[in-house]
Subunit: 338 residues, 2 copies
Amino acid sequence: MKEVTLKQIAENLGISITTVSKALKDYPDVSAKTKARVKEEAANLNYKPNVFAVNLRTKESKTLGLIIPEVVHHFFSSVINGIIEQAEKKGYLVIILQSNENFELEKKQVDLLISKRVDGIMISLASTTAEISHINRIKELEIPLVMFDKISKLVDCSKIIINDREAAYKATKHLIDRGCKRIAHFRGPLLPQNSIDRFLGYKKALEDHGITYDSSLIYICERVNYEDGRKAAQQLLEDHDDVDGIFTNTDLIAVGTIAVFNERGIKVPEEVSIMGFSNWFVSQAITPSLSTVDQPGYEMGKQTFKMLRKEIKAKKKKSAFTPKTVTLPTHVIQRNST
Amino acid sequence: MKEVTLKQIAENLGISITTVSKALKDYPDVSAKTKARVKEEAANLNYKPNVFAVNLRTKESKTLGLIIPEVVHHFFSSVINGIIEQAEKKGYLVIILQSNENFELEKKQVDLLISKRVDGIMISLASTTAEISHINRIKELEIPLVMFDKISKLVDCSKIIINDREAAYKATKHLIDRGCKRIAHFRGPLLPQNSIDRFLGYKKALEDHGITYDSSLIYICERVNYEDGRKAAQQLLEDHDDVDGIFTNTDLIAVGTIAVFNERGIKVPEEVSIMGFSNWFVSQAITPSLSTVDQPGYEMGKQTFKMLRKEIKAKKKKSAFTPKTVTLPTHVIQRNST
DNA sequence: CTGAAAGCGCTTACAG
DNA sequence: CTGAAAGCGCTTACAG
């Protein structure tokens, strides 16, 4: 099957390639009659423009790049969902890369997307990302860029986030309101801003409510997953016997914690209240169901794409674009673990 | 910042574009000395070939398309993970589209990927896909194609699957082995092959073990999710009081079922045993933990990409390629719900 | 209203 | 060993 080109149509109709091209794009300086003939012939031959040629001419690919720490992840996959749905509606396709929380891989992936000449990049940083020169290179090349969720405050670009500190404050306050006096925190790694902010929100809530902060109640979960939650819970049980509340960095940690407590016959929430973060599907399915903070993944994806599109449009019109930060609301969801 | 092109390098060095191009690609007919000079200059200027031009010339995009029913889905996101990891290693990027189990959307997405001129397409069909002319069009255009998990037997292409019938047979037999005599099946929709096969495996297991098949014990879960599982469970409780085992089409249905039973004080597995399918993360986290069948998502993604790559390579060499079907092994995982 | 021509940036068959 | 030339398929400024 031979590919149909403008040349083909032009020859069939005995007119020039230029006119065919203009007719198909509804240029005003082509007669209605010619337009009709061209369009009919194009439809008959089922003409589809060669995107490779169009890309080369227009210097646009109508393709966006997305770098995300993990794909098998309720929250991030919800973000993907929000992004690709919106993008498709507006004629953009999305290349998805997974950094696997790995800084080196993330750097390579940024290079890959740049050399692919995507029209814009969306990124949520890996937990091990220690510096941001690779991100700044995106800015230098003037490629539209939006960061979401796991951002760096050092990069001057649009950001779609939640207020992690405030959300963590609310979560911790919820434990305090439920009567907890000695509250541990299973936090994420040291680098990511959101893990820092959640820790700070926790600490502030304690201080504001007359509870002394005790650093021995802080446990670090490097991979922020179920296994880490189990380990932290086991360690906590060895170290302390007076903890009556735990605020975890994310739901999976809380699920691991509850699993250990269930196995050991420790009653949740009677003996210890547990608070998750993110509202994964699993949090409503376990027993006891998990109180948590709702983190709007789908909406975050949607807003991320929309912001990127604004920047792309501004760039095309060569009009100025000032990066904006959008903070999405969160709220505590009370279930049976608190 | 001006883009660096071959022309730029050629001018700087006072040689032709042709020679620069050949030097960078290590053509044997360029002197070692010239190659060295060209490579040095290219490195200095941080030259990156313009992919748009390369695509146009080589008629290759080094980009693949993936259409998947749902992204926020443990199994499918694992498949995505397997695909994009392998693809990236081999220099391919992947555009991901979500059909949302919608036939019409799936058709449009196939068109989109075709017009994007991806080098190959990987697809898992939507549950509502009623006919496959859109898939056959991919074949007609000679675009390499691999189907996985939710396939159509009518399409002549490579497939990466599990033996759904056998897996369902094993799952049902497991319930029988655990002493169940009256076993219901919460099945998926009527169209998808895997939902049909799982139903047939269930039926066959009953027959082989002297249990009469009773169509009133079959409930259809259209969206195959938690809510559907809850509804089916509630309906079952109204219709029957003698069921002692349930085999569900997928884990989420089982999770919804267990939730209803927990709320009503029906003991699992003492009164009813429940068997899931797919081994989602959630199945190990709930109480009681869910017995299920392991469905290797990551491996399926990996094999899907590998098969597609073989076909792409064969096409490039214009050598014949015979579609193959790979069936991945599954096994029953016993936990506390049976 | 129509079309010749230049050009996007690369690759490669061919001549010398 | 080097390079002029054609060409991938499109877009668009310009001339008529």
